[in-house]
Symmetry: D2
Subunit: 327 residues, 4 copies
């Protein structure tokens, strides 16, 4: 459950256990620690507002090591977030009638019954709180002109704000909706990245596909590149070796100088209120399952800050690797 | 340039240097080494046939360590493939007039002029020869009922064979065409995989996005999931906890029991014969560049065995990790 | 600050910060968690008794993830130990007059002043609490007939109990004494281990030399082997391929079937009450420094359970690597 | 079989297979490649002279990737050394009557008969050729004032040259002799190193204990520290924070500014001409085994350049980690 080679973030915790959090190794020493920013970042992914589930978590982050006198010490940083609003009785149907589209059954098989399945256990999106906290602390090692911004791209196939009504409608129907987050990274120095498996695209694809419910990652012109001609797709180097705004920002694992455009598609959340017929291992029959509890009707709004967090961690890691950031 | 955590494959070599190849660490001992299979696999990705470039390589693989008496010894396996048909004078325009859509310029900046740029150097698709060879040797550790098969999905947006004429036409025009490879993995035990960043989807996405020219990776319903409702997308567990054929084969990083469908989109090859206007750093002007040499008009047919090879290495690695394969 | 390749233990915390602890990744699922054993193990290294410093710590371990219903879940395990008896004003002389024989000055230079130096910060032996806790949890994955036992070998050069009076005398004089811990590992299957840098001797040497104040590690006949003849040193394989009790238990990184004997020499603790003349960076002069606070007069008695803990973690890791323990 | 975290050297090959060598990942770009130095370094560890075995190897190193125009390219460097003087019939007694003091039997058990046992296979000191070659290439990234020098410390317990006659005498008797190599590292910047398991002492101890036949590693006053008092052992910081020449050069994993003294004890070589009685698995009886072939009577003279090579690789790796060397 680790991300990064130079600055390594390891997640821990379970959705309905005592806590979640992250351990950061390889954070440089003497980096200013910005508590205000951390609070802002944690609030941005907090449930309980808008198109998000009603679970209430204050998400107070305890910094238990690696920060002293308002600066990082160069030693491992432990970030701990206690779980508070846990309603475990909502999950009494597990493991016998696992939810459609959820990981309940594969986890149970994998761990031979040992895993804590409530709320998805360690596979829960709740663990993204640790990612967001770790990413927040890494902000101050990233040069100011490297910009990493994610926006809600589409809800249910409708671009931008168009889809909000559709999502609201899905919620009211006890259903959920697919969505997309768009990520743009600008200002990276040409050549940042690595060859092959540690390149920008592979590293970002890996990290982004680990966000719960991600189903596709596209770079540049993405799936549309499959229908283009080379003469049309090739980005010409212009005066002074500049590329157009629309050019591919990542070439062979490295930054080309143009903005990097990434699109991440999320499936509709599996947790819906509509009753679903699914197999019950006790009765040995298909039976209706009505899942109580709190559901997000659409993922993009809550995944947006997580996409940004994950991208920032990947870029910080590659920046240290390439010597652009003092490690 | 390494793939895998338990069975680690590290690529080396340059397109126009003396050799390419791979070093495999963590291959179990006593695995039968199948030379016939290795030759078959190497032929499958060899250039010089059909819609592929005219570069001739016999791709004889020297096995220089780790195999004895027709079996693996449990020690590192070195696979060496000498380069033979190298026409380096084709690249005399580098680094001053880097090719549109190629990594020439970012590599040059990254390595401050040290890298061997000819033919893409270490970033060349030539290095996939090492991947295919390593993957071939890993075949015998994978259980027979785990099937990993890639097919050419589309050429220029036309499904299956429909696109061949289009690709031929692009070639004649000195141009190139985008394409897609479809990967299907069946028979994996439920629960194979890991949580978060080492899960099936993140690990496959990382490895597949490292194949030169890959621009998008989709799992299950891919980008279409973004337009679906949960009630429609959720895969119900049926009698005996079986899933439909069309269900998502990977859930939260683990195998669900259904076939895993992955689609990989490749951009049109950047190397085209059509003259392109691009910046020349010596003259300080935009100038036409006509690239001689050998070009593939479309990537999917040659990437197909590489996709399979990469997927096999990822699955073998996760299989060892989970104890499904003796490591 | 990580140990292990398969089961990875990462330490965190500072001696005078809020907490210390360990994060364990790769612990198999379904391992029984034995709280009684954990308490016993934590007590064994606790300060405040016998030849140990007077610092009082109850060393209560909070298990914040990875354990559920009395068993490991297969997910990362976070062990947190709060610091309680912290007297930071004892360290007001830092960083200007660093203590002789301590790491104060190198840490300060390394982190450009950012590290928390009080009590050695993250370099403190206090962090061995996390090692002992992690090791305690790993006990139940190690087969019963693998025995790992450490004893106090010598104090001030006097074997066994002979040296206790000498240590007591050193303490009364405000001084400290060197010591040795002897480690014996029996019952490992022949061949457990790996070639070269991950072998038994390299892995144990690395882990043991990381214990604060360790200055030498010897295997088998250790430094005495340098004076022997091959005909005398060579261990003959006897009837049924058995070795003598006194034979080398580790050969080329692997278990040979004989007991593995390791000796670890510890320097006398650097913290002594006797005033020492050392450089003061503010006055620019040599000045007497009298270090208040709590000092162990000799390390072996407190290092003994840590040696055992570290060895157990290394053996568990190699056991998983070799397939002797289900990972 | 990998050493290093930032610059990673992986060994491969078997003593009696086609080749041995090393793959280097993470070597910075633009480092001058010095062929003369490489030849000098390879000659220094070559067998066939003085107190070394009679095996003749020219040890020509083929550089098959990662070097172009006399400089490193920043990509993986493959170093290949073909085996030439292989007399495999000397090993026909294996695996049935494994040699006393050798790894033959544990390897055979570990790999269930798959390993190539001839000459120790992948466990052979022959593989140090790859270490010496890799280390030679890393020379040019290490600052000039960092000095790493190993000398023959003792043969059979006699310091310096005193022991040569003793070793010669052991050889004539068909026997062998224990020995010691002394390593001194000077000029490292204060603070170079890392906390805990990646510190100078753990990293050096691990790497040095991986050299075949190493039995003990001592730092500073080594085993003698076990008999000292703190008031005697503590190194005072003198004027301008300087330490005495005899002070401990490594404190808590970091360079203190004083020379680092390390002593490595090697057992007498297990390969001796004197007949030895040992178990024969075919006859089921103890039988005399007379090992033909080429034997070194003492290890230190041949291990000396290997100790230096290994230490250089460790220091280069830690230098990159700490930002003292551009990675």
């Amino acid at each position: 459950m680790s991300l990064g080679e130079n600055m390594i973030v390891t997640l821990f915790g379970e959705s309905h256990g005592p806590a979640v959090g992250a351990l950061i190794e390889g954070m440089p020493a003497n980096v200013e620690f910005d508590l205000e920013q951390l609070i802002t970042d944690m609030v941005s992914r907090r449930p309980g507002s808008g198109l998000a589930s009603k679970r209430k978590e204050t998400d107070d982050v305890e910094i238990l090591s690696g920060v002293n006198n308002g600066r990082t010490t160069g030693m491992p940083i432990l970030l701990l977030i206690r779980n508070q609003d846990v309603r475990s009785k909502d999950y009494s149907f597990l493991p016998y009638q696992p939810r459609p589209g959820h990981v309940d059954h594969p986890i149970n098989i994998k761990t031979e019954g040992a895993a804590d399945l409530r709320g998805g256990g360690s596979f829960s999106a709740r663990l993204t709180a640790g990612l967001v906290a770790a990413s927040s602390i890494s902000r101050n090692i990233i040069p100011d002109d490297w910009k990493i911004e994610a926006t809600v791209g589409a809800l249910g196939g409708l671009e931008g704000d168009e889809g909000i009504a559709l999502a609201e409608q899905a919620r009211k129907a006890g259903d959920s909706l697919g969505s997309r987050v768009d990520l743009v990274i600008t200002g990276l120095p040409i050549g940042l990245g690595e060859p092959w498996f540690d390149g920008l695209e592979p590293a970002l694809a890996r990290a982004l596909m680990a966000i719960p419910a991600a189903r596709a990652v596209e770079f540049g012109r993405g799936v549309n590149a499959g229908e283009m001609r080379g003469s049309q797709h090739n980005d010409k180097w212009g005066e002074g070796m500049k590329l157009d705004e629309g050019a591919d920002g990542a070439l062979g694992g490295m930054a080309s100088g143009a903005p990097i455009h990434v699109r991440i598609t999320f499936k509709p959340p599996s947790g819906i209120s509509l009753p679903q017929e699914t197999f019950n291992q006790i009765s040995g029959m298909m039976e209706e399952l009505a899942i109580k509890g709190r559901h997000d009707p659409v993922i993009a709004p809550r995944a947006r800050p997580v996409v940004e967090a994950v991208a920032r961690l990947v870029i910080a890691d590659l920046g240290i690797q390439g010597g652009y950031i003092d490690g």
